[in-house]
């Protein structure tokens, strides 16, 4: 599905030329690896185990609420992989239900939303699948977030991660969603179990939030994963692309990374291609990514991701313990 109002051919060619210069000129005068500032706060929804609100200048605003519910294992003896993966439910909703209307600029730049004329359903379904994939894959040394959700034999936490996009768009920005989910997970606390671990009975919990258990131990590893969008125009690679840059780009990836040590080195936990505008699709232009460019794009993410994840973690930590 093409965006509702595409960029005009002169605009695209102007952008393409600017971005493929060496050094490239981005319209907002950022360097290729510079991120736009974001406004973020976490743990502000009293009814949630963890929450975050993130605002970005262009992508808009989104709220993530994480609720944990005690659930009995579906099967008593055997927990299949399918069952275990149902322990986390991610949904992405657009407040007001509106896709971008007339005059709201280009709507391209989502993580998926490709599959055709279905619009909203498709895009959000894709975003939810991709967010969950990153969560399940993330972690060092065989660590899985699912292990943290086991309460006792026969019982587990069911984690509902609800993402609410406050700014209507048909193609949510991957960075916005990922940042918000990352912060919300980082601020998630679960009540402390008071009944023994190895008993099949209904578990009991302490109602004292002061001794609640964090889902991700603060300032240790692993940290929640983070997805960074990256696009390529010509030989240049850009992090945190703007809507117009995505429309101009020839190739795009969303690279999901998780921190592997305190020095800020990262493991790649997922790579997905992102739908881009392909600069107007001229004949003979690049139709995909060659291996050299792929390396360049992923490298750019790997270099910056450590700082980004650490920065987010510090901000979350500061806000959590300020109150």
């Amino acid at each position: 599905m093409p965006p509702p109002t595409p960029l005009s051919p002169p605009e695209l060619s102007y952008l393409y030329a600017s971005l493929s210069l060496s050094p490239p000129i981005r319209l907002d005068l950022r360097t290729p690896t510079q991120f736009r500032p974001i406004v973020a706060e976490c743990s502000f929804l009293p009814h949630c185990n963890g929450s975050a609100r993130v605002c970005m200048s262009e992508a808009g605003e989104c709220i993530v609420g994480i609720k944990a519910e005690v659930e009995k294992d579906a099967t008593t003896k055997y927990v299949t992989v399918i069952e275990r993966e149902k322990w986390i439910e991610v949904s992405v909703e657009v407040a007001g239900g509106g896709a971008s209307g007339a005059g709201s600029g280009v709507g391209i730049g989502g993580i998926s939303g490709a599959g055709g004329a279905t619009g909203r359903d498709e895009g959000d379904g894709g975003a939810a699948v991709w967010l969950k994939e990153g969560l399940l894959a993330g972690g060092a040394g065989g660590w899985s977030i699912l292990d943290r959700l086991v309460i006792s034999s026969g019982w587990h936490w069911k984690l509902y991660i609800d993402v609410l996009l406050l700014t209507p768009t048909s193609h949510p920005s991957p960075l916005l969603l990922s940042t918000a989910v990352n912060m919300a997970l980082d601020s998630t606390y679960l009540p402390k179990l008071t009944s023994p671990h190895d008993v099949d009975d209904i578990p009991t919990f302490s109602d004292d939030w002061a001794i609640s258990v964090p889902l991700y131990e603060p300032t240790t590893f692993p940290r929640p994963p983070m997805s960074l969008p990256v696009v390529a125009v010509g030989d240049n690679v850009f992090l945190d692309p703007s809507v117009a840059e995505v429309a101009t780009a020839e190739a795009g990836l969303v690279v999901t990374l998780s921190l592997s040590d305190s020095e800020g080195s990262c493991d790649i936990v997922g790579v997905r291609s992102m739908e881009v505008g392909r600069g107007g699709g001229k004949e003979g232009d690049r139709k995909g990514i060659n291996r050299k460019l792929l390396r360049q794009m992923v490298n750019a993410c790997v270099k910056e991701a450590g700082g980004v994840i650490k920065g987010l973690g510090e901000t979350t930590h500061k806000q959590m313990f300020r109150a």
């Binding site: 960029l7 000129i25 360097t31 806000q319």
Partner: protein, 352 residues
């Protein structure tokens, strides 16, 4: 750190800024509720100053010397108003007075087209004999095929061939600069581009700001001399908040074409018109591109910080930006950079 994360700023009301930190707000009673200034609106001050803030239903004045303008209505005399007819606000916004005309400017409003406005628009849809153009107004504007310059001269008759080839002039997504020609009863604008000043936009970048942030001026097309070897840059400040910043091009009517070759008078219109609808950009140097981006950043920063955009502010802001960042490749990720530039520009205006 490659990313800048800002904690959300607490909401600041106008009162907070005016008072000392320890001060007690007078209009708060013990419960912390806002004290009612009497139960009836008539008890409120009348004859408010220009720039004062009003809410819908609030009486602006009872003085019969004023005429009601946009955003106000006349209320019938009643016992509440003491038998006077009063002008009541119908918007939340600030009062503006033009001679004896009282009107309310909403803080945030959609662009309402007026005849003669210079607007920048984007083609939404191509219809049989006209285009639908997005100009950020509640209704999209129309541009009739008969209101544009056709190749082969202004005076040429419109033919059915033109109708079939309508996409060769403007297609979906194309940007254009036009003038509001007429308004229909429901406020829908009809545009025209029958002047060589108007037409398709090329060689630059498009950006949007809130419509209220563009000050109405005599001319909305600015030409700026830029530094760092950027050459001249044209800025189309659409009254509707759509802005196009492009490399300066010599108007085609002036002695010959863009390449300087002389064109005979009879072929002049034809040459000009064919170039008008081209989709190919000219050669633009990296220096010009950098300066165009810088101007775009300046305009964005001005609008974001609540400063109306006009010729003077664009110039001052640009100068301030040059002083702040000579090369200007590092302010994009800096959330405070825009604010610093705008403050410097405002200081310059106070000085000059």
């Amino acid at each position: 750190m490659p990313i800048q994360i800002i904690a959300p700023a607490p909401f600041v009301t106008a009162d907070d800024e005016e008072e000392d930190e320890g001060g007690v707000r007078l209009d708060l009673d013990n419960d912390g509720d806002i004290a009612m200034e009497g139960d009836m609106p008539s008890h409120r001050r009348t004859g408010r100053e220009a720039g004062g803030i009003v809410t819908p239903g609030e009486i602006v004045t009872q003085d019969p010397q004023w005429m009601r303008g946009h955003g106000t209505y006349l209320s019938q005399p009643s016992f509440l108003t003491g038998g006077h007819q009063s002008i009541v606000s119908s918007l939340a916004g600030t009062i503006s007075k033009t001679n004896k005309l009282l009107s309310i400017r909403a803080l945030k409003f959609r662009y309402v087209p007026e005849i003669g406005d210079l607007v920048v628009g984007r083609i939404l849809e191509v219809q049989t004999k006209r285009w639908r153009v997005d100009i950020a107004a509640p209704h999209s504007a129309t541009l009739l095929l008969s209101s544009i310059n056709l190749p082969g001269g202004i005076l040429r008759k419109r033919t059915s061939t033109d109708e079939l080839q309508i996409r060769t002039f403007f297609s979906e997504g194309d940007l254009l600069v036009a003038e509001v020609q007429t308004l229909s009863n429901d406020g829908q604008a009809s545009l025209h581009t029958r002047s060589l000043k108007y037409g398709k936009l090329r060689n630059g970048v498009f950006m949007t700001i809130d419509a209220g942030m563009v000050r109405r001026m005599k001319s909305h097309v600015l030409t700026m001399n830029t530094s760092n070897g950027g050459g001249e840059v044209d800025i189309y400040l659409g009254v509707n908040g759509y802005i196009y910043i492009a490399k300066h091009t010599t108007p085609l009517t002036e002695s010959g074409g863009p390449e300087g070759k002389s064109v005979s008078i009879t072929r002049l219109e034809e040459e000009a018109s064919e170039a008008i609808y081209s989709n190919v950009n000219e050669e633009i140097s990296p220096e010009t591109r950098a300066e165009i981006a810088r101007i775009a950043c300046v305009i964005g920063a001005l609008a974001k910080n609540g400063v109306k955009v006009d010729e003077e502010m664009v110039h001052l802001g640009y100068e301030a930006a040059l002083e702040e960042f000579l090369q200007g490749m590092e302010w994009g990720g800096d959330g405070e950079a825009g604010k610093r530039v705008v403050e410097a520009a405002l200081a310059k205006r106070r000085e000059g």
